[in-house]
């Protein structure tokens, strides 16, 4: 069962990768997966991980990379803001999602007449904590995006890499969806004053569903961002 799910997810991500990256090859030095389309007009590409200057040529559809040089002494930002900022959303957002799911479970348990999972009126505290965590994580992601663009400009010399393009796109999606989730949370459409979810009315149900879907989708986006960032730092 678990293997089937993994295979299914793998197939979807493989299809996405094929479409997004196009023909790929591995850096002969650090084994990082590079997209052939990222090469410049002369067929040259600098590996973002190890700095190998690679010339590529497609021979019968096989990409044959040749290492011509190594880019040494790459500029490092003095203040490593991006690595520091990036761990805030990665650390805080999953806790916010866990809180929201706990509140959903508490609401459902109460509707079923079972004891509340969050007793003693603590649901409102948890709901407030979820909001604070969401604001902190989405706010920090703004700093992450800004510092990431700064790094791309200096460390990677604004070179076009599929991975960095995907990271920028995912960051913008995370910000937009996160802002939407915060707005929904703060509007009172999703949570009552008690901290439990409004599931009685159709509007409340739709709002709660949209809120949870937004958080779930953002978790996937965040995981993708973390994975991409990790591979850019540590390679394969």
């Amino acid at each position: 069962m678990l293997a089937d799910i993994r295979r299914f997810v793998g197939r979807i991500s493989d299809r996405f990768k094929r479409g997004f990256y196009g023909p790929t090859f591995r850096c002969p030095v650090c084994h990082f997966v590079l997209a052939a389309v990222d090469a410049d007009g002369n067929g040259l590409l600098v590996c973002p991980v190890c700095g190998a200057v690679i010339e590529i040529e497609a021979v019968y559809g096989h990409i044959v990379p040749v290492v011509l040089d190594m880019e040494l002494y790459r500029p490092q930002p003095k203040l490593r803001l991006h690595p520091m900022a990036t761990h805030l959303p990665i650390g805080l957002f999953p806790v916010a999602l866990l809180g929201a799911v706990t509140l959903l479970a508490a609401t459902l348990l109460q509707r079923l007449g079972l004891a509340s999972a969050v007793p003693g009126g603590r649901a409102s505290v948890l709901a407030s904590a979820v909001l604070v965590l969401l604001v902190l994580s989405v706010g920090a992601s703004l700093a992450t995006l800004a510092s990431g663009l700064w790094d791309w400009n200096f460390r990677y010399r604004r070179r076009s890499y599929r991975q960095i393009r995907l990271k920028i796109a995912c960051s913008i999606v995370f910000l937009a969806v996160g802002a939407g989730a915060i707005a929904l949370h703060a509007s009172g459409l999703v949570f009552a004053a008690s901290g439990l979810m409004h599931l009685d009315s159709a509007a409340g149900l739709v709002a709660a569903l949209a809120y949870l879907v937004a958080l779930g989708a953002n978790m996937v986006v965040l995981a993708t961002l973390g994975h991409l960032g990790g591979t850019l730092v540590f390679g394969r």
């Binding site: 023909p23 090859f25 591995r26 850096c27 002969p28 084994h31 010339e55 040529e57 497609a58 021979v59 019968y60 559809g61 096989h62 044959v64 990379p65 040749v66 290492v67 011509l68």
Partner: protein
């Protein structure tokens, strides 16, 4: 003697080359790593008419000449010989039916393969009978109008995906060929074998436990199985040699591309005589292997005995592919030894050409057996 390709041949080669560049080469490394059967690629090859091309026209096929097929096969194997084997595997098992099947058998087993993508497999090899086919121990006992088959077939290409098998079994002291549908009760397919190379090709064990086969599925007369199995190789060995030529071509192209761009001692790698001579030797050996292959194929198409030439082509092309793959890795230096470059895969893939469809030593035995019947060589 005309060495030019006809416009039809040129068109077919171009189509195969385009398919290779578009579908096979970009996916070769991924299939090599995962070992996944290239079903999507086979589906596309089927759509483009690159599969089952030798089925006779009266059953809806193209009746492609072996020479033309060799040219196509060389192109496909240049991308990945494992994927090319998966695409071309049907040919080996279809040919016994083309050669010895009745009209009814051809209509039942060949014609449907042109309508939708299906596979078949040539199941002759056994754990104790490889090069020595006469040692086959699978039995086919006559029970009424049926045969009851029992035995183990080993290293069966496309064995997991086949919808029918050509099976060689012992009827008394002699060998007989049978067409056995894969859904027959008693057929058990083993797991995919993890081989040295050609990971995209599906190779499995097939066990037969009291498999009932109607007499209508017997190929030819009882006891004619060995002859059918051997005659099949005269048709398929030029194709196998062409596959090996594809590996040589890939090795040469990769080495050439690398040598022209890599710099050592302030000059291009190819400027070093030690490297450039390797490329010259690879090119010459490739041409020699091609000419042997094409001659073996042409003789078959002319209806002449090509057993010696097919053996020569298969042996020589396999050895050339092996040496070309090793030389390619040498030209690439340290990079040739890593998994990130295609050279190491070529070495792993090339080795099987010296083994399957008759090991190199068997090919030499065939050549000698033909020489023994000659008074002098002209």
């Amino acid at each position: 003697m005309d060495f030019n390709l006809t416009p039809q041949q040129q068109e077919r080669v171009e189509a195969a080359r385009e398919f290779t560049r578009e579908w096979i080469s970009p996916n070769a490394a991924a299939h090599d790593r995962s070992g996944e059967f290239p079903l999507a690629i086979c589906r596309e090859a089927f759509k483009r008419g690159l599969m089952n091309s030798h089925i006779p026209t009266e059953y809806g096929g193209q009746h492609e000449a072996v020479l033309d097929h060799c040219m196509v096969m060389e192109e496909l194997a240049t991308g990945c010989s494992g994927i090319a084997t998966a695409i071309d595997g049907n040919g080996l098992s279809q040919y016994p039916v083309i050669l010895a099947g009745t009209d009814d058998q051809k209509r039942r087993f060949l014609a449907p393969m042109l309508e939708e993508l299906t596979f078949c497999a040539y199941a002759v090899t056994e754990p104790e009978a490889g090069s020595d086919v006469a040692r086959v121990r699978t039995t086919a006992a006559k029970v009424g109008n049926d045969y009851m088959l029992n035995g183990v077939k080993w290293w069966i290409t496309n064995g997991s995906v086949a919808s029918w098998y050509f099976i060689l079994a012992r009827t008394g002291d002699e060998l007989t060929g049978f067409i056995v549908p894969a859904d027959s009760p008693g057929i058990v397919r083993g797991p995919k074998e993890i081989n040295l190379g050609q990971h995209a090709s599906n190779t499995v064990r097939v066990t037969l436990e009291d498999v009932k086969v109607p007499e209508a599925n017997r190929l030819g007369a009882e006891g004619k199985g060995f002859d059918i199995a051997m005659a099949t190789f005269n048709h398929t060995r030029p194709g196998v040699a062409a596959g090996a030529n594809g590996i040589t071509k890939a090795a040469l192209n990769i080495a050439l591309s690398y040598a022209k761009r890599r710099r050592t001692f302030d000059k291009k790698l190819i400027s070093n005589q030690g490297i450039s001579f390797k490329l010259a030797e690879m090119m010459t050996r490739l041409d020699a292997a091609r000419f042997l292959t094409y001659k073996a194929a042409w003789l078959f198409d002319q209806g002449q005995d090509n057993a010696r030439e097919a053996a020569q082509a298969k042996w020589f092309a396999a050895d050339v592919a092996m040496s070309a793959a090793i030389e390619c890795a040498q030209v690439l230096g340290g990079y040739g030894y890593t998994q990130e470059m295609p050279a190491e895969k070529l070495i792993r893939d090339a080795k099987i050409y010296q083994i399957y469809e008759g090991a190199t030593e068997i090919q030499k035995m065939i050549i000698v057996s033909k020489l023994l019947r000659m008074r002098e060589v002209h």
